[in-house]
């Protein structure tokens, strides 16, 4: 048996799936977290049920990309049951979708989620009345407290034989392809791309009427203090100031944490390091392989732990709080004007800020952008300008090692962000449609935050650590073998153009493909602060890492990636040359 979960964005569909099946899908407090379809198995005493989670939609009868995904899914999977998840505190808008789903004729259970929050807001929902109007069983559910979980499972177990995929549904999907419906859709039961049918309005009316009928007593007790905080934050001046203050606080905590943790971690790892070094050195016969491995392995272990781990840990934590509290979408509103300068709408704030964690999921999150042109702009900026957590850790280490200028680097990055955004957006067609739903503010639960930190941080062990170890051995081998010396003839060229020695330029070229490697290569060269600043700037503003490239091809195709790579190379070289001209010392 197959069940499909359908509901509005940000009503907690993924959390419902997690509760039901015990799986671990990422849950956030903003619209559009589940951009892809995920599925999991629910094991009941006598049955096994496949449950499929879908991207949030407001309507299944419209023509968007997400709606098509759901329609295709329904036709392919032929589910016996739809689990329609609603947000209890927002029934009016949610019910619109329920009325649409009702017309499909697939058996349905309506899950009124976040019932605990609705009760706190003082709302009473009349369950039997709602069941009568919708003609479907209603379950009050709270993914946070677990309310309704047993009831739902029992309901599934008991009625499992009654659920079935209706045969008449095929003709229903055909209907929207009829020419009459395209030209005179007001007469059809499904609206079309070009207009809203009278049925659309009837359903909207029904939803409004139903919500009024079944929900009681919401206005008196709405003075809940979260709402007060919301009022404060949603005021333009006080809110923007508070949001910016929080960003500064976040970066301050992040940098302090990196600074404070490096000492203890390396002190802790130092003995271990010596043991590994001695072990490797004694294991292998003396020679170049011995030298390379005995140096590279301990180094390849200690750098990720001291430099990258703290940054990744802290960024994961801060990002999780930002997501779950409902603050993140508020940034898109506060920064909407600023974003316009770069040719993107406020929605871009979400993928861009996710990029500070890891850029790979951030590229996926660009699906939130309304147009393909804007997606390209955001992916380009993400790939070239935004430093991910691992990069931040790496850069912080190199900056302090060479006393490079942090201020020059930050200003350079901001300048590139502005110039790049400005140029790309002028090359793209624009249309100003900014509509974004703001979720209610919530206090993040410890459990959810911890889970997210764990999920985000898993990449450290599966990706960062092995990659760095392998790359470190390769780089060490190249250095010991004298390969890099071959580039010394370029010294005159690199000095003249970028003001850095040939060694550093080679380092720049290597690290363009993998920024984590910057410290490994650079720390072995003697650089003045000026040279280091230029080299780090060129590295920070270059190409996306390999996982991001793969994701980019998946999302916007090979051509898009090629364009981004070309822009990346140009940016890096222009930045190097410009800094060489500008920097005085």
């Amino acid at each position: 048996m197959t069940i499909v979960i359908i509901g509005n964005p940000n009503v907690g569909k993924s959390l419902v799936l997690n509760r039901l099946t015990g799986s671990n899908f990422i849950v956030s407090n903003y619209a559009g977290t589940s951009l892809e379809i995920s599925e999991a198995m629910l094991k009941l005493p006598n049955h096994e049920i496949k449950i499929i989670d879908t991207p949030g939609v407001y309507s299944v009868f419209t023509m968007g990309q997400d709606q098509q995904v759901i329609k295709d899914l329904l036709q392919k999977e032929k589910p016996e049951l739809i689990l329609n998840v609603l947000d209890a505190s927002n029934l009016e808008r949610n019910l619109l979708l329920s009325f649409e789903l009702k017309e499909l004729g697939i058996p349905m259970i309506v899950l009124v989620n976040q019932i605990d929050r609705a009760r706190r807001l003082g709302m009473q929902i009349q369950r039997d009345r709602l069941e009568n109007i919708l003609g479907a069983p209603v379950v009050f559910f709270s993914a946070i407290t677990g309310e309704g979980l047993m009831e739902l499972m029992q309901m599934l177990e008991k009625n499992i034989d009654e659920f079935a995929w209706p045969s008449r549904i095929e003709s229903f999907f055909e209907q929207e392809k009829k020419p009459e419906c395209v030209f005179q859709c007001r007469e059809c039961s499904i609206g079309s791309e070009s207009c809203l049918s009278s049925e659309d309005f009837r359903r909207a009316e029904m939803a409004r009427y139903t919500a009024q009928l079944v929900v009681h007593g919401q206005s008196e007790t709405q003075r809940y203090w979260m709402e007060k905080a919301e009022k404060f934050i949603d005021r333009p001046l006080s809110g923007t100031i508070l949001l910016l203050a929080l960003v500064f606080l976040g970066f301050f905590i992040l940098l302090k944490f990196i600074e404070l943790s490096e000492g203890p971690i390396s002190a802790l790892l130092y003995p271990l390091n010596l043991i590994i070094e001695n072990f490797v050195a004694n294991l292998l016969p003396p020679g170049i392989v011995n030298t390379v491995l005995s140096k590279a392995i301990p180094e390849g272990l200690i750098i990720p732990f001291t430099i990258i781990m703290p940054a990744m840990l802290m960024v994961s934590f801060l990002m999780s709080i930002l997501e779950d509290s409902g603050l993140l979408p508020r940034y898109s509103v506060a920064l909407e004007r600023v974003g316009r300068l770069f040719g993107v709408s406020g929605q871009a704030v979400i993928p861009l800020s996710l990029g500070f964690g890891c850029r790979t999921p951030a590229v996926l999150a660009t699906r939130l952008m309304p147009t393909m042109a804007e997606r390209f702009i955001v992916i380009t900026i993400l790939s070239i300008v935004i430093p991910c957590a691992a990069t931040i850790g790496v850069m912080a280490a190199v900056i302090s090692a060479f006393h490079a200028s942090l201020m020059v680097l930050v200003i350079t990055m901001l300048m590139v962000l502005m110039v790049l955004g400005f140029i790309i957006s002028r090359m793209m067609p624009r249309e100003e449609v900014f509509v974004y739903e703001l979720p209610p503010l919530r206090i993040p639960t410890n459990k959810n935050v911890l889970k997210k930190v764990r999920l985000r941080f898993a990449g450290f062990f599966t990706e960062v650590l092995p990659l760095l170890l392998v790359m470190n051995i390769i780089i060490r081998a190249l250095m010991e073998s004298g390969f890099f010396k071959l580039f010394h003839s370029m010294e005159g060229f690199t000095r003249a153009l970028f003001g850095i020695p040939a060694d550093a330029f080679v380092a720049v070229l290597v690290t363009m493909f993998q920024r984590y490697l910057a410290p490994l290569v650079l720390l072995n060269i003697n650089l003045t602060p000026r040279e280091a600043t230029i080299a780090i700037a060129m590295i920070s503003l270059s190409l996306p890492c390999l996982p991001v490239m793969v994701m980019t091809v998946r999302e916007i195709g090979f051509k898009g990636l090629i364009k981004i790579l070309i822009i990346g190379f140009i940016t890096s070289f222009v930045v190097g040359a410009a800094l060489n001209l500008i920097l005085p010392w």
Binding site: K231, P236, E336, V433, F434, Y436
Partner: protein, 81 residues
Amino acid sequence: MYLKDMRTGQSGLVVKISKGHAAERRLFEIGLVPGASVEVVSRHPFHGPLLLQVGNTRVAVGQGIAEAVEVEINSSSGSTP
């Protein structure tokens, strides 16, 4: 009168939306349809976005949208400017 002309705290009924089908669809999805009541929660300066309360949902819309939504002000929520 249009949404963009409304002041903070004013509420009204949506009369008409004229901003192309894609935008109308988008607005329909979040409940901003003719007949719906909206309240302006706040306005960001420099032609920034408007925060609206539509039913139980808080929605931010850009100026492009605010210029296209025609509203009828509720007389109880303050006089027209």
